[in-house]
Symmetry: C2
Subunit: 125 residues, 2 copies
Amino acid sequence: MTTATTRTTVRAYHQARFQGDIPAAARTLSEPFHFQSPLLTSDSTHGHLSGLDAFLGIVTGVDLVSELYGETEATLVYDVRTSAPAIGTQCTAEHFHLTDGRIDSIRLIFDATPWHAIMRAVSPS
Amino acid sequence: MTTATTRTTVRAYHQARFQGDIPAAARTLSEPFHFQSPLLTSDSTHGHLSGLDAFLGIVTGVDLVSELYGETEATLVYDVRTSAPAIGTQCTAEHFHLTDGRIDSIRLIFDATPWHAIMRAVSPS
């Protein structure tokens, strides 16, 4: 494992995720896999991507602020611009851990405050 | 500027901040300086540290998850354990940009959801 391998894998995941290409994103992930965000935890390589289309429906752009790579980990910082006035631009950090060139855990960190009202509005319960 | 310089400066800031040593933390910062978090923006090297004592009053420990350094930037990911049940453990990312070995901007990223109720409770308005 090198930082170059990490960069290739993490960039492929990031690009696939924001293009809505779930199979390509999932190919960069390993089993077992763990995902954690303020709104969701999942141990499935597809579970955390299941709401991706709805999310991308409000994304108008992604501005990468920082990408830093180590041999077995990486952290991206980026701004997600959205068309939802309640969210606006979402400052996001994403930490990846890799084993054998594949991502085995992701921590997505952002302020979920505006999302709770949106999720209550679209949830039946 | 080298990654070693970045590491020395950012580690000094991080350690000073969680020890409550505001002068030592401020010595790692440059002017002009910009701070951004879900709860606060500041252009003062001391402004974002003004509520530090109250914050540290509920912090029971800090677990560093990741530290990645570049020549002019760094990102730390850490868990802040707190004694506040509404907050619990706060997963945090902190991105630093440096110029001439000093930090000129910080983005602190975390889920501020539980903080709003706490701030309403302690705020007179």
